[in-house]
Symmetry: C2
Subunit: 331 residues, 2 copies
C-alpha cells in the first residue's frame, strides 16, 4: 500500500491517501477524535499513550463488526460510541461545557445506500448521542430533533439516560473557567476550545458506506448552538455514489462551506479525486478563517485523512491495509 | 423573454426557466409560498385572489429594494417577512401547529458573496424568524441557534417579541385537530400537512445572490423537529458561484437529499444547467418518496421554479422580465 503525503505551504493540509484497490468484499474503517492544536510539547507521554489506546479501542470495536460481515452503520456506531465513552475526546464523557456550565451534545448518523439519516442537537441526558441518532435514522419519523425533544425521544425508545454531570470532567470545566477568566466568550478563532469532535466512516463487505459524528461543540458556546456535526452535508455525510465523510473543525465555517457536501459533490459531479476534493474544500475553510479536518472513505473503501490543523487524532484499518493510529501532523 | 415548460410524465416536474441574459447591473427576485396539493377545486376565487395579493405584496417589497440598488439580502428579508406576516402561508402568522398545539418556527438566511449564513429552529416568540436569521448572519458569533436560545438571542438584539398565540390561526388549528381525529400523527406522506413554507431568492445589481426560507414545518410535528428550511445546503443556499436556492417540500427527504447543495454543486462542478440540476434533484426526492419544489436564481439572475407537486405559490420579477404571480402547476 502506497501513501502519498502532501504538505502545502499555505494551508498545511496533510493528506494520507490509499489508492483505490478495494474489491466488493473489502471492508474499511477510519475514525477521528478531532483536529486542532495537537503538538508533542503539549501532550505527556502517558496521555499520548492513553489517547492512542482509546483510539485503538474504538477502531477495533468497528473493525470487529466489519470483519464479521456486519454493517457499516453498526461499525460506525460502535466506534463512535467507544470514543463518546472516552474522557479524552469532546463527545459524550469529556465533552466541553457551554457558557451556562452545562453540556449539550450533537450527533448525526447516515448510511449511504438508502441515504437514510438521523441527527440530534442539544442532547443533555442520553448516554450515547450517536446511538440516538442511529435510532432516529432507523425509526423516524423525523430525521433531526433538537433540545429536550431529542432526550425525550431517547427515553421513549429506551436508550440509557444519565445525569448531565455524567459527561463532565475537571479538565473541560477548567477550559470553560479559563475562557471566563479571559472574558472572551466563545471565540470561534480559538481552535483549542473545540478540539475533539469524534467521528467514524466505514464501508462494509456489501459495499455500503456509513458516517457518524458526535461532539460537545465549542467550549463556552451558547446553549442551543448547533454546529456542523449534526448537519447532513456539513459535518456528516454518507452516499454510496461518493463515499462517507465525517468532519471536525470550526463548526460555523464548516456549515457555511457545506464541507461534506462539497467534497462528495466535487467527486461525484466534477469527477475530482476525493483527495483533491477534500484538499480544495479545506482550503476554502481556511480562506474563510477556519480550520479542521475530515476523514473520507470512498465508495470502494479507499480512505483518507485531510486536515489543515497541527494534528488530528485518527486511525484506520481495512481488509488489505495496515491498522494505523496517529496523532500528530508529521506522523 | 422565452419560457420553456417541461412536464414530465413520471415526476410532473414543472419548470419555468428564463434564459441567461442578465448583465452585471440586473436585479432579479423570485419568491415561493410553498408547494403541494394546490388545485383549483380546493381554493375559492376569493381565497385565490387574497393569496395572489399577498404574494404580490411580498414580491413588490423585495423588488422595491432591488430597484433602488439595495442588497439581495435586504430584498429577501423584506419579501420573506411579508410572507411571514400573511396568514395564508406556513410561516410566521398562519404557521402549522406542532403535536403539542404550539407553533415552532424555523428560518435560514444566506448571502452568496461571503457565504455568510444565519439559521434558527424552534422559534416561539420572535415576530420575524427571517429577521432573526439575518441578524444572526450579520452579528454571530454562531450560525445556527435552536430552541429557547434563538428567542433569547432575538430579545438581546432587540427584535420584536410576541406571544406564541400571535402566530395561531383557526385554519391551522383545525388541520391539527383533523390529524388528531384521524389519529395519524405527523405522517410525512401527507403533503397537505406541510404546505406553505415560504422563501425568496434575489440577485442585486452588484451581482450578489441571497436566499431565505421560513416555515412552521409540518402539521403535528414533534416539538423540536428540525426540517430542511433552516439547514444550509438542504432548504436554503446562496453561493455566488452557483446561485441562490430556497426549497419547500418533504423536509426529512430534502435533508437526506441535500436538495440545495446538489442543485448548486451539479451546476458548479458538473457544469449541468441549473434547470436540469433542479429537475434531477427533485426526481431524486420523488424516488425517495418525497415531493415539493425549489426556486433557483442563477449567478447571472436567471430564475426558475421546479416542483413535482400539483402546484406551487410563486412569483418573480426582474430588471428585464415580466412580473409574474402564479399558483397552479398549469399556469
Amino acid at each position: 500500500m502506497a501513501f502519498a503525503m502532501h504538505r502545502f505551504l499555505a494551508s498545511a493540509i496533510v493528506l494520507l491517501a490509499t489508492p483505490s484497490t478495494a474489491s466488493a468484499a473489502d471492508w474499511a474503517i477510519a475514525i477521528h477524535g478531532g483536529a486542532g492544536v495537537i503538538e508533542r510539547a503539549d501532550i505527556s507521554a502517558a496521555d499520548d499513550a492513553a489517547i492512542r489506546a482509546d483510539l485503538a479501542k474504538a477502531l477495533d470495536a468497528g473493525t470487529a463488526i466489519l470483519k464479521a460481515g456486519g454493517s457499516s452503520t453498526d461499525a460506525v456506531v460502535a466506534a463512535v460510541a467507544a470514543l463518546e465513552a472516552s474522557p479524552w475526546f469532546n463527545a459524550g464523557v469529556g465533552a466541553v461545557f457551554t457558557s451556562a456550565g452545562t453540556i449539550e451534545l450533537d450527533a448525526a448518523m447516515m448510511e449511504g445506500e438508502g441515504r437514510r439519516a438521523g441527527a440530534v442537537t442539544g442532547v443533555k441526558s442520553t448516554l450515547s448521542p450517536i446511538a440516538l441518532a442511529r435510532t432516529l435514522m432507523d425509526k423516524g419519523p423525523h430525521v433531526f430533533l433538537a433540545g429536550p425533544a431529542a432526550d425525550e425521544y431517547a427515553r421513549e425508545v429506551g436508550l440509557s439516560q444519565v445525569p448531565n454531570s455524567h459527561f463532565m470532567t475537571e479538565r473541560r470545566r477548567k477550559q470553560l473557567n479559563d475562557l471566563r477568566m479571559r472574558n472572551q466568550g466563545a471565540s470561534l478563532e480559538r481552535p483549542e476550545v473545540r478540539m475533539g469532535t469524534v467521528g467514524a466512516v466505514a464501508r462494509d463487505v456489501k459495499g455500503t458506506v456509513a458516517a457518524g459524528t458526535s461532539t460537545g461543540g465549542l467550549t463556552g458556546k451558547s446553549p442551543g448552538r448547533v454546529g456542523d456535526a449534526p448537519l447532513v452535508g456539513a459535518g456528516t455525510l454518507a452516499d454510496n455514489r461518493c463515499g462517507a465523510i465525517s468532519a471536525t473543525g470550526s463548526g460555523e465555517i464548516f456549515i457555511r462551506t457545506r464541507v461534506a457536501s462539497q467534497i462528495c459533490d466535487a467527486a461525484r459531479f466534477g469527477k475530482v479525486p476525493l483527495q483533491k476534493a477534500a484538499d480544495t474544500t479545506l482550503a476554502e475553510v481556511l480562506a474563510l478563517g477556519g480550520d479542521g479536518g475530515v476523514i473520507v472513505l470512498g465508495p470502494s473503501g479507499d480512505g483518507l485523512f485531510s486536515f489543515n490543523s497541527a494534528g488530528m487524532y485518527r486511525g484506520r484499518a481495512s481488509a488489505k491495509g495496515p491498522r494505523e493510529i496517529k496523532v500528530y501532523g508529521d506522523e
